[in-house]
């Protein structure tokens, strides 16, 4: 698949923003480690809003005809993309209301505030599910057609959110041992979940050039694709990645998304170092951005079979 930056940013940033608001709600609801101070709550909710907005704006950049984008809210009965749009928009009033409530009252853990935060968090989590299902329902791409995809989206959204939350806690100069612990646990979960996913998609299965053409009992080779230069199909679906190159990029992904954030968070909590905390946050977003790029480039659409690929 063609890895469009707009679509990578959509799930990367909005997923992190939704994970962050959900964790803010959980932390304040349960008063974990004393809960978040008003300043920390404001910072976290603003970060969440910024992240979600980056994702939403970049998703409209992917549209070839954005003047019809408003229609994308109409087919929620069948389309996960429509559902995602509706829930993503529904997140805004609650997140904004919680922001205003915290700013005005200075009491993020008051009942009204907690209800607003919890609603925003739940809607955020539902949106992550819809985002995962956008890809998981496609039977045309076996690398996406698995329940691991929405599960991974949760792991990654939570890991980004937890790292941001720990960074907010450290930058505002408060003890963050519990928050760093949560973040590292969730980053480890991402590492394991992605490993399961990579093992899962490594084994070829599904349609072949034989079932694609119906010549099930003989070899089939492409003689001519029938076009002189690339088409929409080859540009959108033709991208692929050599196995050894993919391995190198996966190692890089693990380095930036897992190893650097864990080490930086450990340093940050030991030295109360704001710089290390910011490094952890930037690194995990970059690393999971690489992961999202791999997610697209490794996805092999079955239409490639008609262009001569033996299996996808």
């Amino acid at each position: 698949m063609h890895a469009a930056l707009a679509v990578i940013f959509l799930t990367l940033f909005s997923g992190g923003g939704f994970g962050l608001i959900a964790l803010v709600a959980i932390v304040n609801d349960l008063h974990i480690d004393g809960g978040l101070s008003p300043v920390q709550t404001l910072a976290a909710v603003i970060l969440s809003l910024i992240f979600v907005t980056i994702g939403m704006l970049s998703s409209t950049a992917h549209l070839a005809n954005p003047k019809n984008a408003w229609r994308a809210f109409t087919r929620w009965r069948t389309s996960w993309l429509a559902r995602e749009g509706i829930f993503a928009v529904a997140y805004y009033p609650f997140a904004f209301a919680y922001l205003v409530w915290t700013f005005v009252t200075g009491a993020p853990e008051a009942t009204v505030g907690l209800i607003l935060a919890s609603l925003a968090g739940v809607i955020g989590l539902i949106t992550i599910f819809c985002q995962g299902m956008i890809y998981a329902v496609l039977r045309t791409i076996r690398q996406w057609n698995t329940a691991l995809v929405p599960a991974n989206f949760y792991a990654m959204g939570f890991a980004i959110g937890a790292t941001l939350l720990a960074a907010v806690r450290i930058v505002t100069g408060e003890s963050a041992g519990v928050f760093v612990g949560i973040a590292i646990a969730l980053i480890a979960a991402v590492a394991v979940m992605k490993a399961i996913y990579y093992f899962w998609i490594a084994r070829p299965s599904g349609p072949t050039i034989r079932t694609a053409t119906g010549f099930n009992r003989s070899t089939v080779r492409i003689l001519d694709q029938g076009h002189t230069f690339g088409t929409f199909l080859t540009e959108e679906f033709g991208h692929t990645l050599a196995r050894d190159k993919a391995r190198g990029i996966k190692l890089m992904m693990y380095f930036f998304a897992v190893i650097v954030p864990i080490i930086a968070l450990a340093f940050a909590v030991a030295d109360q170092s704001a710089v290390a905390a910011v490094i952890a946050a930037v690194s995990i977003v970059f690393g999971l951005g690489v992961e999202r790029w791999l997610f697209f480039v490794e996805a092999q659409h079955v239409v490639n079979l008609y262009h001569g690929r033996q299996r996808c």
């Binding site: 698949m1 992917h62 549209l63 070839a64 005809n65 954005p66 003047k67 019809n68 984008a69 229609r71 994308a72 809210f73 109409t74 087919r75 069948t78 389309s79 996960w80 993309l81 429509a82 749009g85 956008i134 329902v137 496609l138 039977r139 045309t140 791409i141 599904g206 349609p207 079932t211 694609a212 053409t213 119906g214 010549f215 003989s218 070899t219 089939v220 080779r221 492409i222 003689l223 001519d224 694709q225 029938g226 076009h227 002189t228 230069f229 690339g230 088409t231 929409f232 199909l233 959108e236 679906f237 659409h301 079955v302 239409v303 008609y306 262009h307």
Partner: protein
């Protein structure tokens, strides 16, 4: 009604006339134009509803060239329609034709991801998804003679390798052809239940080319060719 095409892989000669006729008709049809990018440049490309690929089936000497035209299959389980967030992609209940409403499409490409057959192509200029309409503006046109109320690709095919008709009618020519010739659907394991069917090449006895016993006349002809100088 379940309208669709039958492609005869036995007689298709791979001339691309169907694709050209399709482009010619539809570039001024309901989803017009079918934009070309850089048509006279080094890297010509553009929107087509119908593309023909060519495959080699089997191993030499039992191999065969098969020409393979593909357009929208007008699937019963058309996931391009269910994934569409705007409602631009729809399947007509009365005849099963899958269409894209150009005034509703926002160009998100999602339907093309859901299509296993590569039937949908984004027009970069209009920003909308375009696809085979089964020449909906021909087949229902009461102003043209009845025998011409067929898709442009079917009318133009010089090898009569394309048939158009109703698969819900068991006695329609397309249903009979599928029944009698073992017509099949592509990638049935994905369960899209495409309407278009493909007829496999007929099985012919191989024509021997080696170790042939020569006829007497041929021997005389060879001898004459040797002794007579030009």
């Amino acid at each position: 009604m379940r309208l669709g095409l039958v492609i005869d892989l036995d007689t298709c000669v791979g001339c691309h006339a169907c694709a050209v006729a399709c482009k010619e008709w539809n570039t001024s049809g309901t989803t017009a134009p079918l934009t070309d990018y850089n048509p006279y440049g080094a890297k010509p490309s553009g929107v087509w509803f119908n593309r023909i690929r060519h495959y080699e089936i089997g191993e030499y000497p039992y191999n065969k060239t098969v020409n393979f035209p593909m357009s929208c299959m007008h699937c019963e389980n058309a996931e391009c329609v269910t994934v569409c967030p705007t409602g631009a992609s729809h399947k007509r209940p009365e005849d099963g034709i899958v269409l894209v409403d150009q005034s509703k499409c926002m160009g998100c490409n999602y339907c093309s991801w859901a299509c296993p057959y590569g039937a949908r192509e984004l027009d970069r200029v209009s920003g909308t998804m375009k696809k085979c309409t089964l020449c909906i503006d021909r087949i229902y046109d009461m102003e043209i003679p009845e025998e011409e109320r067929q898709p442009a690709c079917v009318l133009t095919c010089p090898a009569h390798a394309r048939m158009f008709g109703d698969f819900d009618d068991p006695e329609s020519p397309v249903s009979r052809a599928v029944r009698e010739r073992g017509g099949y659907q592509l990638m049935p394991e994905l369960n899209y239940d495409p309407s278009n069917h493909y007829l496999p090449p007929r099985v012919h006895a191989p024509i021997p080319t080696e170790g042939l016993k020569k006829k007497a006349g041929a021997k005389v002809k060879e001898w004459v060719n040797r002794v007579v100088e030009r």
